[in-house]
Symmetry: C2
Subunit: 472 residues, 2 copies
């Protein structure tokens, strides 16, 4: 036990602080795929004041603090460090009863997303925020990373669901802004500082989330287009025709659609092959009307040639068949082994051409490459997954990453659409942000965390030199 | 000419700087009703670099800068000061062609809101942001104050319409984050600093605004409820029944409805008197279906007794009749002379009781008082307008204000729902924000504007003592 961990244990009590072998292994890593690391200590506070006590002590001693939620982040934002403590929000999972009149719910940061969704539904309302990791990810982590997910085209990113927030500053001060009103312009909107800053400006302890009226029916269609430009024309048409009923617009290139479909023997509801495949989902309040609206909109697109083919699901079973390939992404690792995966954003008009270039150039460099492209194109978000079978466990991660981010930078895109920067993308942050923006981020960080204890080395290094050059 | 204004004119050129009588009178005041003041100089830059040049010079000399847009703010945020220059964005009104694929539009900060709305409509899209001052207010002012307005229940506050932003810092640095993508999590979301901070952290120079698919039909209903609790039950019912088609939920108490209706001889579409009146507006994409949905939802409320009566407009003329009283607010001053007006937020469940208390207590203190209550109750936003006829031009503003804000504070509300703090509400900011929040606001201000040149004295004073005590 170091002097610091002894002091920490003495001040917070043995119940709150785990050391060495008492730290559960799951706290040694997040889902970024980095090597496990035992943190200096694991603190499990029961409330914001206890988070504050831990932070104040760390701040006084210059010890780093890594906040941990569900540990489902893919960029390394919750990855622990041997010289920093980890703070787990796992004991702060309270969910208050839904406020039906204000259409909001108040939760502690450690509450899992799925539990909050369920509480909203039990009260006849609906949380517009949804991610694949819903059963494990927590509200605190979801907000810290400003997560996106499945319904962004309709309900926006995590940020847009937050009415109020409580966060603990580096010096231990609890700043509570638990607003429940849609409109509140009394001074600066401080919650924005903590949303999406990946735990580097404060530790989120509680939140008030906005709830929506719950759509009662969803209808899905799988569409085939000749090329990406036609898919963009389809996007315009369904935006205009479905308005706020449009809840998904997922594009799958043949690289993804054919490889996953064939490898897993999944249903192929469209008879012919197409240049790109698009899943369109409409969600509304009246089944027959909503279906008619979707049919009319897609019918017009078939007639004017925007669509080559389309099939609308007529049952839950058919819906599952249409989504089967899109939802097969959990099978990647089993099919391909080690991967290099991307979550980039691209302006719509260059997305088609950029995917062509990326796939062709990767194939030129690694002839046996498997490069799968798909994404939330309604949100400008492209996912690309790359594996070079001949490289086995020694995947050329660095070279692939460098090439992809170079291409995204040249296309005016962003290196992170929804997963954040964490540790893994830190070297590439200057690809997407200007020197003036990076300087302002560091200025904010210095103002809020002068001793650089909050999730140090994440997002950017405070020392400009050490954080700015990607190494391969 | 002072040394400073000479230097300013020499560096920026006579074309950019107006002094003394060359400053147009309209720059002497905003719509807050404060007395006109001639600023030290009026600078009219043509681009962000010129804003930067002016700010850098002011920063070096410790001279304050008051940014001015359309000057329609009601809280004094753009009110000039004799010892500070004003910067008008009036020459920066460019509107770029709509990006239809990304559904966004790029504009300079001085562009009037109505012109941006028109550009969106010309491209077949729709800006969800709308205020009464649309013809005069600018995008820069609208974003600086995070304005709300008429469609918040459906499209959110100004903040939620911003994809990208460019702002000029106190030292003249131009920070450009002109993102057009719905998802972009590459580092801190810096634009949030400048939205809603009323020009105290930077001067907004350009923005990328998100556009929506344009609803093609709107249908309005005027509803009569026995009391406010029934109006809240109606709100729940129309949220569930109309979903995202619900675009207005405007409550009018009899104090407002009867006074304005009778004074102006306006149509009274409901036969009987009611405890509260509610305007419900539904906007969608298919006229017959949308109307049926509204009829069914209100029909169920009539049947279960939530509604006492309701009339749905069948023509544009009827729609105008239903909205006539709500839209008569421009006639206040003509009817009543000097006013004390409020824009407060209240939690839904206490709103009815709070309005009762406010109106009754005002009447107790000033028996002839005219106190009119109405608001965007779907957004928790109450407007209250007070006039004491017997006081003539010597309205007891201070006493009324103190009493109303005391009551709002006790009810857990906010002293500013959508108009901001500016100068007028500054003494009351501590009624709605905690000492920890105020300390964090000051910390941010110090970090971004160490010489306190940006809109000084607005929102809060940097010196804690001078800004915290309301005087009557």
């Amino acid at each position: 036990m170091t002097d610091f961990t002894k002091r920490l244990t003495d001040e917070l009590g043995r119940d709150l602080v785990a050391l060495g072998q008492d730290i559960p292994e799951r706290a040694h890593r997040d889902w970024s795929g980095m090597d496990p690391v035992e943190p200096l200590a694991l603190v499990r506070p029961r409330n914001a004041a206890e988070i504050g006590a831990a932070l104040a002590l760390c701040d006084a001693h210059g010890i780093g603090v890594v906040p941990q939620g569900g540990l489902t982040g893919l960029a390394g934002g919750a990855q622990p460090s041997a010289d920093a403590i980890a703070i787990s929000l796992e004991r702060m999972t309270a969910i208050e009863p839904v406020d039906a009149e204000m259409a909001c719910i108040t939760v502690e940061a450690g509450a899992p997303l799925a539990a909050v969704q369920q509480a909203a539904e039990d009260a006849g309302l609906f949380l517009g925020l949804d991610l694949g990791a819903r059963g494990t990810c927590t509200i605190g982590g979801t907000l810290s990373t400003n997560a996106g997910g499945n319904r962004v085209i309709r309900y926006g990113m995590a940020r847009e669901h937050v009415l109020g927030l409580e966060a603990v500053l580096a010096d231990g001060t609890v700043v509570s802004s638990m607003n429940r009103m849609l409109k509140n312009n009394a001074g600066y909107d401080l919650k924005q500082l903590f949303i999406g800053s990946e735990g580097t400006l404060g530790v989120i302890s509680r939140a008030v989330l906005r709830l929506q009226s719950r759509p009662t029916f969803s209808t899905s269609a799988l569409c085939g287009c000749r090329n990406f430009d036609d898919a963009l024309a389809l996007l315009k048409a369904v935006r205009a025709g479905l308005g706020p009923s449009l809840t998904s617009f997922e594009v799958m290139w043949p690289s993804f659609y054919d490889f996953m479909g064939k490898s897993l023997g999944l249903p192929r509801p469209l008879a012919e092959d197409h240049g790109v495949y698009v899943l369109v989902e409409s969600s509304g309040y009246e089944e027959v009307r909503d279906r008619e609206q979707l049919e009319a909109t897609l019918g017009a697109c078939l007639e004017d040639g925007t669509l080559a083919d389309a099939v609308i699901a007529g049952s839950e079973r058919e819906t599952a068949d249409l989504w089967a390939v899109r939802e097969s992404v959990a099978e990647y690792s089993r099919l391909m082994g080690k991967l290099t995966a991307f979550d980039v954003g691209l302006p719509a008009h260059v997305t088609g051409r950029t995917v062509e270039v990326l796939e062709a150039e990767l194939r030129k460099r690694w002839p046996d490459v498997i490069a799968l492209s798909y994404g939330h194109i309604g949100d400008s978000n492209l996912h690309l997954v790359v594996n070079v079978p001949s490289a086995g466990d020694e995947q050329p991660h660095g070279e692939i990453t460098h090439f992809v981010y170079d291409t995204v930078r040249a296309a005016g895109g962003t290196i992170s659409a929804e997963h954040g920067i964490g540790l893994l993308k830190r070297p590439y942050l200057p690809y997407s942000r200007t020197p003036e923006e990076l300087a302002l981020m560091r200025r904010l960080k210095r103002a809020l965390d002068p001793n650089n204890i909050l999730n140090p080395h994440k997002v950017f290094e405070m020392d400009e030199e050490s954080g700015s050059q990607p190494t391969m």
